[in-house]
Symmetry: C2
Subunit: 231 residues, 2 copies
C-alpha cells in the first residue's frame, strides 16, 4: 500500500546528497612480471556496500582491486592493482567524498625491488624483501578536510582488541570488524557477520548474506554520520 | 557432404583411447590465513587444451589451481590451491595417463613458515623466507612408467634458450614456449602464440585465440606421440 511504499522510499533515499568513496577487493603487489603477493578478499563486501549506498541515494565512487564480480550499475568504478595505485586514487577522489569506507584488503607490504624480468629459480631457498605500503585510511584520516571515515578490520584472533586499537590509532570514526577465521563468513564467503565499533559503543550485525549485512551497515554508518554532522 | 563429415569425424577423434592429464591455472602459496603468493595465470590455455583433447576423443583429467572459468563438460576436474597439492594429485593421477600436459603456472617457491594467524604489520620492513617446491613435471619425468610429457615455458626474455634448457634438463618430450612479455598473448589474454620444441625440431603456432592454438597444439602433440609409440 501507499504507506509501505512511501516508507520504503524514505528508507531507500536516506543518503541523498552524500558522496561515498568505497575501496574494495584485494591489492596485488608485484614480485616480477608474472608473480605477485595478494590476499583472499573477493571484493563482495565492498561491492555490496557500494550497491546498498547507491540504493539509499548516495553518489558512489568505488576503487577496486582485481576481482571477478561486476560493479553495481550507477557507481563510478576505478580499477587498480597495487596498494600504491589504490592510495593515489583514494587521495585524489576523497576530496569530493562525504564518507570514506575503506573495505579493501590492502597489502601492508610491497616487494622492495620488483624484478623487471621473470625471476629464474636457482637456489633451494630465497628471500623476499618487503617494505611497508602507505596506510590509505590513516593518511586520509590525517587530512584537514577529511570525510566521515569507516575502516575495516579482518582478523583471525583478538578481534575486538585489534579493531579498537586500529580505530584509535588511525583516528577513524567507525571500524567494522570481522573474524575471518570463523567458518561461513569473511573473505571467501557470500555471508558475513560484523561488529561495528565507535569510540563509545559497539553494534553487532549478525551473520547474513553480504547484501543484507551491507544494507544494515550502511544504515548504521548513516546514523553515526547524522549524529556527528547534523546535531 | 559425407566425405567432409567422415573426415571431420576422423580428425575429431584422433585421441580415442588416450588419457590426458592436464594441469592448469596458477597455484597459491599461503603466507598466513589471508595472504598468499600467486601469479597471473588465468587457466585459459590449460582449459582450452582440456577442451580440445576432449573434443578429439581423449579421456581428460584436469588438475586446476584457483581460476574463475568453468571446466569443459566431460573432464574429470580436480581443484587444488598450492603447488604441494597439485604435485600430490598429479603423481596420483599420472598412473592412468598416456599424456601429461603441464600447463599450470606452478609456484617455484613456497613460504618456509606459514603463519597460523594473520601477521600483524609492525616493522617498516620484513623478509619472507621461501623454499623450493617439488618440480611436478620433472618428478613425473623421472617415473619408470612415465607418460608422454609436454611442459610449458612462460618466459619474458631469451624464450628459446630457456625453453630448450628446460626440455633437456627435465627430460621432457616436448615443451611449448611463449613470451608472456609480448602484448596480446600469454597470461592475461584470450589469445596466445606458442613455439613447440622437441629435442630435434620446433614448430610455430601463430597468434590466435587460445582455443585455436589449443586445437593445433593438441594435434601436434598427438603427431609426436604417434611417432614415438606407434612406429
Amino acid at each position: 500500500d501507499l504507506v509501505t511504499l512511501s516508507s520504503d522510499f524514505f528508507v531507500e533515499k536516506h543518503l541523498a546528497g552524500q558522496h561515498w568513496l568505497i575501496t574494495a577487493g584485494p591489492t596485488r603487489e608485484a614480485i616480477d612480471p608474472v608473480r605477485y603477493i595478494s590476499n583472499h578478499s573477493s571484493g563482495k563486501m565492498g561491492y555490496a556496500i557500494a550497491h546498498a549506498a547507491l540504493r539509499a541515494g548516495a553518489k558512489v565512487t568505488l576503487i577496486s582491486g582485481p576481482v571477478t564480480i561486476t560493479p553495481p550499475v550507477g557507481c563510478h568504478i576505478i580499477n587498480v592493482e597495487s596498494a600504491a595505485e589504490m592510495h593515489q586514487q583514494a587521495l585524489e577522489h576523497v576530496k569530493e567524498a562525504t564518507t570514506f569506507v575503506a573495505c579493501a584488503a590492502v597489502a601492508d607490504y610491497r616487494v622492495a625491488n620488483v624484478a623487471q624480468e621473470k625471476i629464474k629459480k636457482s637456489n633451494d631457498a630465497m628471500q623476499l624483501d618487503l617494505i611497508k605500503n602507505h596506510d590509505i585510511v590513516a593518511d586520509i584520516a590525517q587530512l584537514a578536510d577529511k570525510p566521515f571515515i569507516v575502516g575495516f578490520a579482518a582478523e583471525t584472533q583478538n578481534v575486538e582488541q585489534y579493531a579498537r586499537g586500529k580505530l584509535m590509532r588511525k583516528n577513524l570514526d567507525l571500524i567494522a570488524a570481522n573474524d575471518v577465521a570463523k567458518a561461513g563468513q569473511g573473505f571467501n564467503s557470500d555471508d558475513n557477520a560484523l561488529t561495528l565499533f565507535s569510540a563509545v559503543d559497539k553494534t553487532e550485525i549478525p551473520l547474513a548474506s553480504k547484501h543484507i549485512v551491507a544494507k544494515k551497515l550502511v544504515s548504521l554508518i548513516n546514523e553515526h554520520y547524522q549524529q556527528r554532522y547534523r546535531t
